[in-house]
């Protein structure tokens, strides 16, 4: 038994050492990358800077800062941090600052479940922003519903808000609306036979399903449909197969970096038909990575990417230009629509709290359901009890790439 005691003691020591070393490693590596390393504890704006004096409103955030969806979670975490800092600097909501607790889910549903339970049961947050991917969101949808905590997901899948769970909302535009805009554009251009390629993740597969479901309404046939892996380094094989089906255009549906390869590889194999992308193409990095080959790509997208080119009377223009310029000055990188999803989630939440005039969960939830005409980065939100997304086809603008830059698509 004394051995046991010794063992237990050494175990405890080891545990403390390990826990200590883990914590020591947590500090952020570089100031401008602050949001990339949210520590286990709350990382809100420093209270000193805040002019809001009231009792803080606790809001949780779960983003895939690391792991497979880091390209989504990174900008989302940065945006959320920036949004809250600005809000608190301007006096918070009715004098109360928001205390944002950002957590990294590492793109793992089990981790998201554990973090969601912490946020709900321990931190007792009013709402959770995120997670970044559909899989993680679906894993915590029921937990938030049962825990009576508002969830504002930044993931795209329509199953998140259909069936409607009364506490669960999402900010990205609907896949079906993006599919409709693409199909309509194709119909207008006289295209009837297309090939579809998607990433083999939730986003790509959901998009492929929408296209299949809606194609008949627009009189379009899908001659080939292929999926590829997120970490793919060469897609000419898949594209050769699509080329063999003799299609008039290609639709690619994905959010992963491999999508920039599509344009390159199509040019490389001499597959010269119009390329349509989904709204997941909404990141200028993909254009930079794809180079010259991406010129002429057509895709539906929120107006964030073409904020500067919008007419002055566009209701979204001011907000978009503000968000884009402050994000880009602060983080020295281009804004993406993913960050916009987090922005909209926080925006809807703050509007709802203001409208409810309270931080009672049910009152805020009711207010959320009744928000109308809220101008966000993704479009103009009109929520209702049946529609927990609130965006329609008008949220999308059809864009194209001209000389390595995004521009509004002009029908020829």
């Amino acid at each position: 038994m004394r051995t046991k005691a010794l063992e237990t003691l050494s175990l405890c020591l080891a545990g403390i050492l390990l826990a200590g070393s883990g914590c020591k490693k947590t500090p952020t590596p570089a100031p401008q990358k602050k949001a990339e390393a949210p520590s286990g504890k709350a990382a809100p704006a420093p209270p000193v800077k805040s002019t809001a004096q009231g009792e803080p409103i606790k809001v949780g955030a779960i983003f895939a800062v690391t792991g497979g969806a880091a390209n989504l979670g990174g900008p989302e975490a940065k945006t959320a941090e920036m949004f809250v800092e600005k809000l608190n600097g301007a006096g918070g909501i009715n004098g109360r600052p928001i205390q944002l607790v950002i957590k990294d889910s590492a793109t793992t549903p089990t981790q998201a479940v554990s973090l969601a339970k912490q946020l709900i049961e321990e931190d007792k947050v009013l709402a959770i922003i995120g997670p970044s991917t559909s899989g993680e969101t679906m894993a915590i949808k029921n937990i938030c519903q049962e825990g009576k905590t508002i969830l504002l997901s930044c993931a795209a899948a329509e199953t998140i808000v259909n069936p409607v769970a009364s506490y669960v909302f999402k900010t990205p535009q609907k896949d079906s609306d993006a599919a409709r805009r693409i199909l309509q554009t194709m119909k207008d251009a006289g295209i009837t036979k297309v090939g579809v390629v998607t990433s083999n993740d939730g986003f790509g597969i959901a998009g492929g399903d929408q296209l299949k479901a809606l194609k008949d309404e627009y009189g379009i046939t899908i001659a080939a449909i292929e999926a590829y892996d997120a970490k793919e380094t060469d897609l000419t094989g898949v594209l050769t197969k699509v080329k063999g089906a003799e299609v008039q255009a290609v639709i690619n549906w994905s959010v992963v970096p491999a999508q920039a390869l599509i344009a390159k590889n199509m040019k490389q194999i001499g597959f010269n038909v119009p390329l349509f992308q989904s709204h997941g193409f909404g990141n200028i990095r993909y254009v930079q990575a794809g180079g010259e080959a991406t010129n002429g790509t057509i895709f539906p997208c929120g107006r964030l990417l073409v904020a500067d080119a919008l007419p002055a009377d566009n209701p979204q223009k001011k907000l978009l230009v503000d968000y884009k310029s402050s994000y880009e000055t602060r983080y020295k990188e281009d804004a993406s629509t993913f960050g916009g999803h987090a922005y909209d989630a926080l925006l809807l939440l703050t509007e709802a709290i203001k409208k409810a005039g309270s931080t009672d969960t049910d009152k805020v939830r009711d207010a959320l359901e009744n928000l109308k005409g809220v101008v966000g980065t993704g479009g103009i939100f009109n929520l209702s009890a049946a529609d927990h997304n609130g965006l329609d086809q008008n949220a999308f603008e059809i864009l194209t790439v001209v000389d390595g830059k995004f521009a509004v698509y002009q029908k020829k």
């Binding site: 051995t3 883990g22 490693k25 947590t26 590492a106 793992t108 321990e122 029921n142």
Partner: protein
């Protein structure tokens, strides 16, 4: 003499109750959620410790077995059989009481297999797969075995990612709770927190008793002889292949058990559970717990998973496990609790030397 190996089990049981009291006193019973989840991960680690520490076989694919267990449980308890309700096979299962009717949160009626049937199938399936895989790869030596198990894990990951019925990248959510007996159930909801805390610990302790029993039996001695010198053991008539295979299958079943129970507890599973990173993480935990030290592995399995699940490591989660692995291999390949000095201290106090 033999009973002595079980004293720590009793001691742990007491500690578990004390921990509960302490958490209740500190009004922090919510920690139990992550302790419970960690306990299920610890099952994988205990199995892997048997395989690596005692049979001397490295596996870089245990996350694959965990995922097979979890996915089987998830698919069978969520796949709606309603459209096939009258098919002969489904009718037979209904007659045998292997199916259940339930409603999800949104009022959809679902006819699925019962969690018990799913749990049994999960263990059986994993056992069979482990048998087939083990039978062919266990003969491989050292790094070839490590590679082969790594390859196996990758295949499981690919299948999870590519198969529509497994939810592809989204995985499976909406997994119902596992009703064990009466009101006893594996259920992640807050009202069941304390019940599940004890349930998970009971499962872990049963696994520990089984493992300790094995290690201290004739089989255990045979295993140690394999580890120390395989050829010598072989020449003395120890059927090394059969023993290694048996431990391989057993450790896979432990992993599947952890996977199935955790899936019911958290209500979902995704392909991230089958990644190489997860497998490497289990290896790192066994290494830090002391390769041939079941108690060390179990405690570390719970401690490190607990910290990780609570997000203590932030975005350095993987880094921490990678660093642990490197440090352990360089400075203490026998494990943190097996550093020679510690062991010498231990043997001064009592009869540890034989272990």
């Amino acid at each position: 003499m033999r009973l002595r190996i079980y004293y720590p089990v009793l001691a742990t049981a007491v500690l578990i109750v004390l921990l509960h009291l302490a958490l209740a006193y500190a009004d922090a019973t919510y920690y139990m959620t992550q302790i419970t989840m960690s306990a299920y991960y610890a099952l994988v680690v205990i199995g892997l410790c048997l395989l690596m520490g005692y049979a001397g076989q490295a596996s870089l694919g245990h996350a694959g077995f965990f995922a097979i267990g979890g996915y089987t449980a998830a698919v069978l308890t969520t796949y709606n059989l309603r459209p096939y309700a009258d098919a002969p096979f489904v009718s037979l299962c209904r007659a045998l009481g292997l199916t259940m009717q339930w409603k999800d949160l949104y009022g959809t009626d679902i006819l699925s297999f019962t969690p018990w049937a799913a749990f049994g199938s999960a263990l059986l399936l994993t056992g069979l797969i482990a048998l087939v895989i083990g039978a062919s790869v266990i003969r491989l030596k050292g790094h070839y075995l490590a590679m082969a198990t790594l390859g196996f894990g990758l295949i499981v990951y690919r299948i999870a990612l590519g198969t529509p019925v497994l939810g592809r990248a989204d995985g499976i959510s909406n997994v119902p709770p596992f009703h064990l007996l009466g009101s006893l159930q594996v259920n992640g909801r807050a009202p069941f927190r304390i019940q599940n805390y004890y349930l998970a610990w009971v499962v872990v302790l049963i696994a520990m008793v089984l493992a300790l029993n094995l290690v201290h039996s004739r089989v255990g001695r045979a295993l140690r002889s394999i580890h120390e010198n395989e050829e010598a053991a072989h020449s003395l008539g120890v059927n090394t292949y059969r023993y290694k295979l048996a431990v391989f299958v057993l450790s896979a079943i432990f992993a599947a058990m952890g996977g199935a129970l955790l899936t019911h507890y958290s209500g979902s599973i995704g392909p991230a559970e089958a990644t190489v990173m997860k497998s490497v993480r289990y290896v790192a935990i066994v290494a830090v717990g002391g390769m041939a030290n079941l108690w060390g592995a179990m405690v570390m399995g719970i401690l490190l998973n607990f910290l990780s699940l609570r997000g203590v490591f932030g975005s350095f989660d993987d880094t921490v496990f990678g660093a642990i692995l490197i440090m352990m291999m360089i400075f203490a390949p026998q494990g943190l609790l097996r550093v020679p000095r510690l062991r010498a201290l231990g043997s001064l106090v009592s009869r540890r030397s034989h272990a």
